[in-house]
């Protein structure tokens, strides 16, 4: 197993380098003037200066491998340039927007994973029954519904018609209280968590109320994948001989499914669940835009629309990095749990 993990770890630098290389190549499609924004740490430096001098200074007229070196050096030192959409340094902007994204991801993870597994298991145990058909149709419609259509539909019904769940992060008065009154201490920037730490339940309730609609939307459009994986894995496990043995010795069906089948069937599911969450965190662009949540996804969408390249490239690096790490963790965990993987 050690050999497997070492081999897997050795691949990490290669994949990371590849990631950086591809992002650099995208950056390299820009013209020198656009590239400047990625290098200049502060917009004030762009005033009253001949851009041609700056282009010379940063070596933006040199061949690409030279620029790649300089760019890498910047990235390693955490210098990503100035984000004009956030009106601050890219790294600062990250710190500001990340809590919202983490919050949404964590809240969405719960129903996505639990619900997906539950639906998949139900659908496998009752294969070809009405429940199975219903669960599959439910999942395939969710899979076919674009996030932006689902989100708009949700807002239309639950905000426009019923006035239950408004968009945004907090209601105006609550937002004022949280960010400007000074009575609410922001420990992490994750409002629901901070509300608990402040023992402030009405802030918690308000934050949660704003999270329900995005979480439900995300769950509905992401359930299909987990349902499919759980279902097929469960079906395969239920056909194994040890399940037959368990049934033959007279164990109740509930025990057979919960204790014997589900545990083994969930191994591949764990992989997909891990990757889904990592993918979610780097892919909340649409959800955050529709529900007007100030996370890194909405920031990236604004950056793309307004050609704020430093922000966009940093976002891309970040979300790619996240997936690489998630992949690695999942692979190693998988090898620890399932001895068959190591032997391959």
């Amino acid at each position: 197993m050690i050999a497997y993990i070492v081999r897997r770890l050795l691949l990490l630098p290669i994949v990371l380098f590849g990631l950086l290389f591809i992002v650099f190549q995208m950056y390299n499609l820009l013209d020198p003037f656009q590239k400047l924004a990625v290098f200049v740490p502060d917009v004030s430096r762009l005033k009253n200066v001949d851009p041609h001098l700056l282009i010379k200074e940063y070596g933006l007229d040199k061949p690409w491998w030279y620029q790649f070196g300089r760019w890498l050096n910047n990235v390693i030192h955490g210098e990503f340039g100035w984000s004009k959409t956030a009106n601050r340094d890219v790294l600062d902007a990250f710190k500001r927007f990340l809590p919202q994204t983490v919050e949404l991801t964590l809240w969405a993870a719960i129903p996505i994973i639990l619900g997906g597994i539950w639906l998949g298991q139900l659908s496998a145990v009752k294969q070809n029954s009405a429940i199975d058909q219903f669960a599959r149709v439910f999942a395939v419609t969710g899979w076919s519904l674009p996030t932006f259509v689902a989100g708009i539909l949700g807002l239309f019904i639950f905000y426009g018609l019923l006035h239950w769940f408004p968009p945004g992060r907090l209601s105006t008065n609550v937002g004022l209280y949280v960010f400007t009154s000074g009575k609410f201490h922001l420990y992490t920037g994750i409002i629901t968590l901070d509300a608990i730490l402040n023992w402030n339940w009405w802030v918690f309730a308000d934050a949660l109320r704003h999270l329900i609609l995005p979480v439900v939307t995300l769950s509905y459009v992401s359930w299909a994948l987990l349902l499919r994986v759980t279902r097929s894995s469960m079906l395969e496990t239920l056909r194994q001989e040890y399940i037959m043995t368990a049934r033959a010795k007279g164990l109740p069906e509930r025990v057979v499914i919960k204790r014997h089948a589900r545990r083994n069937a969930l191994i591949p599911v764990a992989t997909i669940a891990g990757l889904t969450i990592a993918g979610l965190m780097g892919g909340l662009v649409i959800t955050e835009t529709i529900f007007d949540l100030p996370g890194i996804g909405r920031w990236a969408a604004n950056a793309a629309r307004q050609f704020d390249m430093p922000a966009l490239l940093a976002y891309l690096l970040f979300s790619g990095f996240l997936i690489v790490i998630a992949n690695l963790t999942v692979d190693i965990l998988y090898a620890v749990i399932d001895p068959r993987v190591r032997l391959e």
Binding site: L11, I14, V15, G18, L19, F21, I22, M26, L29, L30, R136, V137, V140, T141, W143, S144, L145, P146, T147, F148, V149, I152, L153, L155, F156, Y159, G160, L161, L225, R228, V229, R231, S232, L235, E236, G279, G282, G283, V285, I286, T289, I290, G297, A300, A301, A304, R305, F307, M309, L312, L313, Y315, L316, S319, G320, F321, I323, V324, N327
Partner: protein
């Protein structure tokens, strides 16, 4: 032919086919049901004014006018044609690239395979929508740049899939036999391996058609896809964003602005997914239950 009959007998598969036939017909007869104002640029939507408030369905504008007074019916009809063009192009190109790389890697093995698979891994590390969004933003607002962006970050699943199949088929007796009698490599790949390895790719491609249309529309929705007056479903939905909530007392006031394009894109995608699900069950019983997402 047999497959088609089986598909039509499967209720979900038949639904998918009927929907796709409908969309195909709409795409083909688009110039007759929604004659373009500028025949050279049929995808440019004609406007009927400049004020921002949408107007309800009325004679001459069966689906109403969107914010900015674009005809919603025109947008939906030509959007259908665009969806077909884009999804076929993107899926076709991605599959071609993926099949080529996957087959070469699996057949030659060793270092070639290692390099190709690592490149695949690297491209897999990017979240599809975010990466496509960034590349499309850099390349500019055209259909071409959207297609390039989607292909660049969308070919990997085909490469992995075909690689697995080729690895399996490489060891099969008839391929070994072909090799033994000296059939040239390219001929083994094209004539002996590809026809047997293609079915899972076909199923994946079918399922992919829907998600490509969604992602392309998402690009327009985010404002990095196409020019503003381009007939595209995502664009139409993005027009409706500010009009989700009607004036007080009449929350349903602007229902038409997103119902029609939203239904079009959802049904198009649903049709492909239903067809893909049914195809998977029919074409290859061994695949039943295996994941092909």
């Amino acid at each position: 032919m047999k497959t088609l009959i089986k598909l039509l007998k499967n209720p979900l598969g038949a639904t998918g086919i009927v929907l796709l036939v409908f969309f195909a017909v709409v795409a083909i007869i688009a110039p007759y049901i929604a004659p373009p104002r500028w025949p050279d640029e049929p995808f440019r939507m004609p406007r009927y004014g400049y004020w921002s408030e949408p107007r309800p369905p009325q004679p001459g504008h069966p689906f109403g006018l969107s914010s900015g007074q674009y005809d919603i019916f025109y947008g939906c009809v030509w959007g259908t044609r665009l969806a077909w063009i884009v999804s076929l192009l993107v899926v076709g190109l991605s599959a071609a690239i993926g099949i080529f790389l996957g087959m070469v890697g699996a057949f030659y093995g060793g270092l070639v395979d290692e390099v190709i698979m690592r490149i695949t891994d690297i491209f897999y590390a990017f979240p599809f929508l975010s990466a496509a969004m960034a590349l499309a933003a850099i390349l500019g607002h055209t259909v071409k740049s959207g297609v390039i962006a989607l292909v660049t970050f969308g070919w990997m699943s085909y490469a992995r899939l075909i690689r697995g199949e080729v690895l399996r088929l490489k060891e099969v007796d008839y391929v070994q036999a072909a090799r033994a009698v000296g059939v040239p490599t390219y001929r083994i790949l094209l004539r002996h391996i590809l026809p047997n390895a293609i079915w899972p790719v076909f199923v994946t491609a079918t399922m992919n058609m829907g998600s490509i249309v969604i992602t392309f529309a998402a690009l327009s929705f985010l404002g990095v896809g196409l020019p503003q007056d381009y007939a595209d479903w995502g664009q139409m939905i993005s027009f409706s964003r500010d009009w989700i909530i009607g004036l007080h007392g009449n929350p349903l006031q602007y229902w038409y602005t997103f119902t029609f394009p939203g239904a079009a894109i959802t049904l198009f995608c649903l049709a492909w997914n239903l067809l893909g699900d049914a195809l998977r069950d029919i074409l290859d019983p061994r695949l039943r239950g295996r994941i092909t997402v």
